[in-house]
Symmetry: C2
Subunit: 259 residues, 2 copies
DNA sequence: AGCTGTGAACGCATTCACAGCC
DNA sequence: GGCTGTGAATGCGTTCACAGCT
């Protein structure tokens, strides 16, 4: 398992009591939603290498999942394959892109242009995958005006103006942890309703705002946990940190393995 | 839970080997493992603000989870709280750090020192959370020798030597996607058994090697999916991307409202 | 004959609710 | 009285296995 779980902060229910008939919630499971971008990328890869039809087995291999899961996931979107044949790569690709909502670009702002913010601002993967960075913001006056990837860094105070001007719904926080909640509040007040948070802080947001968190040292710590167990299971190895932890239980040989 | 837990003493005496206690297979659920670092950080925060005891309710709030889940998670580690009172912050913090395996530093190499690699190399959160970057590697000769955060960038060819010399078990891949599998193979061949992959590629590794993937544009796409649904549920909003689907594929006729 | 799409079975994770201890 | 630790209940996600279509 690889992706963070638990992303949503609030239920999608917008109105309280529903007066008229709603078209019935589609209800794609969250775990499936998290894999759709992976399938999208795999399809793009196949498409680039000239493949125009593929079986669930092939696509699953390219995406790094098993084929039963892939078929189940796709079944939530509709019946886009052909029995006995497989999937049309271009067609399926478009359907998934449409379902995710990246058939057109989402404007995004990045707040906090330190090392990580710089890297994000220069990351070409965003523009090719449905996002367009429209503003970079930083509170430090010394950074303002600096050009990063073709955009100038603006003062944080302009946040409301920029969000409104560009109709921004998605914001990225790459500030130090102490600033994160304040930045978040200002983003939300300005109208942003989805936030990708790189700061190591727990954000509190109002109902209806989504937050996803990416935390680099948490990922490493999860690896460390498994690594420690491997080391304990195999005392011959020397790939162990300098001091050994005291008397932990040895683990069954098969241990934890990801693909 | 069936296995009784031996609460050990608070003394952070790392290295003292326990004689012959052979408990049972621990088997902490993966979902719990992924949250332990979050609890660890929350505890560190509480500790820094002078709190020395907390209830499951308080700690859960600081970590952004509900208290039932927190208590369940902690119960897999042992009985480290006191009924009617709560948890000793320092004690619990040490127990979790020990369980994760970050009571001492893990040496880490980073491969691919582009924008993201730079950011990672400069990220201070690693060193304070159980990791020590011991080498930076890049295949591009123009980058080699450059100093980043006090370390020189080494040629990729030295990977085997560096991994062995520093007993590295964990590697970080921050290269372009095309290079990722090759870098991964070399890392594994050199003895690395845990990999944190930032490249947008599916890595194939032998049994026994763990891979975790962090993909920035996938996180954004997941947000976009939910954002799109909010926009559809609330047509009054104007936080919708600029254009409409651009005939990328035929037969988009059924539109967005169906099913 | 081959491959998709899906109900049913299974297993894991979360939540509930309360027994057990301070 | 208050809070932890945990079986039991519930809910979700994955896997199985095969019906249904080409």
């Amino acid at each position: 398992m690889t992706t963070p779980r638990n992303a949503r902060t609030a239920a999608p229910a917008v109105g309280a009591a529903e007066p008229s008939a709603k078209p019935v919630e589609r209800g794609i499971p969250e775990a499936t939603v998290a894999r759709l971008p992976v399938y999208l990328r795999a399809l793009t890869g196949l498409s680039d290498t000239g493949v125009d039809t593929c079986s669930s087995e092939e696509l699953a291999a390219a995406a790094g999942v098993n084929s039963a899961k892939l078929r189940k996931d796709l079944s939530y979107l509709g019946s886009y394959g052909t029995r006995g044949v497989g999937y049309d790569v271009e067609y399926l690709r478009y359907q998934i892109a449409r379902e995710i909502g990246v058939t057109q670009d989402w404007p995004v702002v990045i707040v906090g242009i330190g090392n990580l913010g710089h890297a994000l601002a220069n990351y070409s993967g965003f523009s090719s995958r449905g996002f367009r960075i429209v503003a970079l913001l930083d509170a430090d006056p010394r950074r303002q005006g600096e050009d990063v990837g073709g955009l100038g860094i603006r003062p944080f105070e302009e946040i409301e103006r920029l969000v409104e001007e560009h109709h921004v719904a998605i914001g990225v926080i790459a500030t130090p942890a102490v600033a994160a909640q304040h930045v978040c509040d200002r983003l939300v007040a300005a109208g942003v309703t989805s936030i990708l948070n790189f700061a190591p802080a727990v954000l509190t947001v109002p109902h209806g705002v989504d937050v996803r968190k990416v935390d680099l040292s948490i990922e490493l710590q999860i690896l460390a946990y498994h690594e420690q167990r491997k080391a304990l299971a195999d005392p011959g190895s020397d790939a162990v940190p300098d001091a050994l932890p005291s008397g932990l239980a040895p683990l069954a040989a098969d241990g934890v393995v990801s693909r």
